[in-house]
Amino acid sequence: MHKGGIAGAPKKFFVHLTMAIIFILLAAFSAWLLWLTYFRDASQSEEALAKRAVPRREMVYEPFHGAGESVLEGGKSQSWCLKCHKDYSHSKSKEVRGILNAHSFFMACEVCHIVPKEGERFEYKWLQRGSNLTLTELKGKPGDYGGTIVPFRAEKGVAKRLDENASAGPLLDEAVAANLLPDDTGKNEGNGDLRKLKDRLNTEIHKDLSAKPVFCGQCHKENGMLDFTRLLYSPERAQRLEFGDGATIIKQYKEFYLPTLHDARSHQ
């Protein structure tokens, strides 16, 4: 018994020490849980919380078209179409207008609204916003490279910008001077001259436009209407634009819809 008592003392100490360490660890973990639940997020902004969060579910929630980033800053493409149609020019279809307006932020309207004729191929270039100089490389984030994609058509050996309409320009200036634009809500309907001006303007401005615009799947596919590599995109980005999430969705879903609260696809 005596011998056992001496040998048992260190063992007893070791057991008590182990139990004490476990106790401290468990108590600390419990305190951390309570702090997490009641105190940690109490005074933090949503932004700070998001910044601090560890990675989770990122495969699902990664947006493929940069939604909510560039579009909100709209109005920089300087397309003169926007003088009438405004920054968020696509409004008819609630289902797709967000995606379309996101594109009109960095693409001239004519990219989609003037369709090349059979056998014809336009040249597309990035023009720097403001200066209209041709960009030679893309800097910035997707959808906001500081430029606008503009279509060019070769006419008599000269590349002609399709987002410019020289004959409509003076008419447009005249309309602006007459306060016809941009918010003609019918108040000038009774003024015959303005009515005629508006009709001429409508005809002149829209004469080159195609009845059916270019649709998503005509560009976002292999060898589509736009050569993304020639448009200065990196090979990886070009491939993503042709085969990535967005392109895949376009191929899979021909019909778009707005999700509801109880719709299982509301977060896809």
Partner: protein, 240 residues
């Protein structure tokens, strides 16, 4: 270092099946708590790990799902156990709440407050053990159902997933605290058994502890033993 000697008479507290169920539950719940609450950590801490952080978090999700599958399986097995196995039926029958539990609870509180001289005489499962046992049913229903929703998130609306996420985290926090405070401290740090209640390993409970904590059950078993023929073995879950 239990003060109950090894040569003392022992009783079966947990059958082998119950110990295996408990072991799976213990391991998988520990993994679930660790891998689950890793998500509540700080991004800066993960960034410090560099590329290893991504790998760890990749495996975190996989381990969490494997442990979740294991705990789900053991829960369903336990339902089968209490419905179809003799030991399971006996377990569940004794676990069902009874009016006496309220009396036990009142008397125990009075005893702990020093307003009563003796502890109440408790049966096989005390009112606290019953509370803990059935709270596991409730908790498991919440975490398994919401976890399954998050596992199959592409089939659910985001609103539902947000609710499931909140419920999953809330119940996980509650369960983790209940396990640590209500189970580990109450069962293993209990002065009667400190440093460890070995029932989860060998399934046995000493006669002394039986008398102290489950005196009604003890008396019932002893009475059953006495009523059996002299050469007969003690049946059921009695003497080990």
């Amino acid at each position: 270092m239990s003060r109950h000697g090894k040569s003392e008479k022992a009783f079966v507290r947990l059958t082998r099946s119950e110990r295996v169920q408990h072991a799976i539950m213990f391991v998988s719940t520990t993994l679930l708590i660790i891998t689950g609450f890793m998500l509540m950590g700080e991004r800066s801490a993960v960034d410090l790990l560099g590329a290893a952080g991504k790998t760890i978090f990749y495996w975190r999700g996989i381990v969490h799902r494997i442990a979740a599958a294991a705990v789900t399986a053991v829960c369903f097995y336990h339902l089968y156990y209490v419905m179809f196995k003799a030991d399971g039926k006996s377990w569940f029958r004794d676990m069902l709440p009874k009016p006496r539990d309220l009396v036990d609870a009142y008397q125990n509180v009075m005893y702990m407050l020093g307003l009563r001289k003796e502890r109440p005489r408790l049966d096989r499962f005390t009112y606290l053990e019953k509370l803990e046992y059935f709270s596991v049913y409730f908790g498991m229903f919440i975490v398994i159902s919401t976890g399954a929703m998050m596992w199959t998130q592409s089939y659910w609306p985001k609103f539902y997933l947000d609710v499931a996420d909140a419920l999953h985290l809330g119940e996980a926090t509650l369960a983790a605290l209940a396990i640590i405070v209500g189970h580990i401290f109450a069962v293993h740090y209990n002065p009667h058994v400190y440093p460890m209640n070995r029932a989860f390993i060998d399934g046995k409970i000493s006669e002394t502890l039986m008398k102290e904590e489950h005196s009604l059950w003890y008396e019932r078993i002893i009475a059953e033993e006495a009523s059996k023929p002299a050469n007969g073995a003690v049946g059921g879950r009695g003497n080990a």
